[in-house]
Symmetry: C2
Subunit: 252 residues, 2 copies
């Protein structure tokens, strides 16, 4: 369970909407979600829901409407290029009940980049939902489009990674999540009663149990997560104190 630390305000929540036929057909494996999740974690924001849909404007719009209403932040990945299958901008406009309009600042940047090779296709990349804000940092001048609490990020992994710091610079500043781990050679059936005890005693710490399939180094990894570092460490130590002789294999 994602339980907020008792001594801290609950963390902001975030959802991700991953867009693209290429992902649902298995041509490409998503590479952005883990990067986003870890970035948000460091910024103290809890990613609580991810949805993946095809390049269909009505589907994407419905998801943006629902996810942006139910979370503090929404991040979309994919569908922001110039071709027929890039419909995220149009969908975001539909979701927020505004038009998709050419942003003059973006259009000028695109013209300056492509010069006399600039086509109507290129200029489609200057479309934004009306009322959107262009976010940038001194390090990354090319802007990232945000409308309300919804950030429209590109699907190309290299560009997604380039833009994420802009996002985190704007939304961060909350206490980061802390994660500790214990590795054992015990299996989950044997660990269960020991884990139940620590889960009961530390309701403010998230406890996870992850068996490894035929790894010589360990059999089950136990994780302890929260935003109160002292409580997370106390939960881990309380668990370790209940282990039999010869365990754990490793602590971190």
């Amino acid at each position: 369970m994602l339980v907020g630390d008792m001594s801290l305000a609950p963390p902001s929540t975030a959802a991700a909407l991953v867009i693209g036929n290429e992902l649902l057909s298995g041509k490409v494996d998503d590479k952005n979600l883990g990067v986003l999740a870890r970035g948000l974690r460091g910024a103290g924001v809890a990613l609580t829901r991810v949805v993946m849909v095809a390049d269909v404007v009505e589907l994407i719009a419905a998801e943006i409407r629902a996810l942006s209403a139910s979370h503090d932040w929404l991040f979309t990945s994919g569908g922001v290029g110039p071709t027929h299958d890039d419909v995220t901008i149009e969908a975001a406009a539909l979701a927020f009940g505004v038009r998709a309009v050419i942003n003059p600042e973006l259009a000028a940047m695109i013209r300056a980049h492509y010069m006399d090779r600039c086509t109507d296709g290129h200029l489609r990349m200057a479309l934004v939902p009306e009322g959107a804000v262009l976010e940038s940092t001194p390090e990354l001048r090319w802007p990232t489009v945000r409308i309300g609490n919804t950030w429209l990020l590109p699907g190309i992994p290299e560009v997604f990674r380039m833009k994420l710091p802009v996002v985190l610079a704007r939304i961060g500043g909350q206490p980061a999540f802390v994660s500790l781990a214990v590795y054992t050679n015990m299996d989950e059936g044997v660990l269960k009663p020991l884990l139940d005890r620590v889960v009961f005693a530390f309701a403010d710490v998230q406890v996870g149990s992850y068996p490894k399939w035929s790894d010589p180094a360990y059999r089950t990894k136990l994780t302890f997560d929260g935003r109160d570092a002292a409580r997370v460490a106390a939960a881990r130590d309380a668990f370790v104190a209940t282990l039999p002789a010869g365990e754990p294999q490793r602590i971190e």
Copy 2:
């Protein structure tokens, strides 16, 4: 858009529900979705929606209820072990309005495996939603749990891969999707009018455009997908015929 081929019955649809705090916190990157997507593709089943949620029984139950009702098949990944954070069986029971019960056949297999080391924790792995079916093949005797149209698969990537053939043996048999591709050094702004033409002429073929970031071999990959191999090839060839001299770089 996912448009069914005009000459064929529409494909069966599938959804995936990926479960686990470890994914949403970025500790682990999902490794099952791409494998599932490609497997379904080969079986002629269209994966149309993926949702990822935390280890919270009510959340999982609500998703199982919604996704199993709106798709022909639902596949869950994760949360089927014996510890406190493994709540998928309980959630599936809740979703289908049945109890979670110990399956005698599974309990016997678990006892035979663990022998005198068998604990109550191990036996929790014999829990299934009442009315569930145990699916197996001669190649993989350890069963996979299915309730109605919903398959409950483990999150451990090695075990997920081991069990997928059991699923595909049961649900397959429809015409597989065919995928062709063309690689160019043109950018999407220039390609857009050429793509629009083929998208308009081949409504039954799914056309995708994927720019590559700084790859020396090509700049944009165009994909053509459908279940009518002749139509997919015709769409690709019609597109290639509109390319300027020196293009494409590669066809497949």
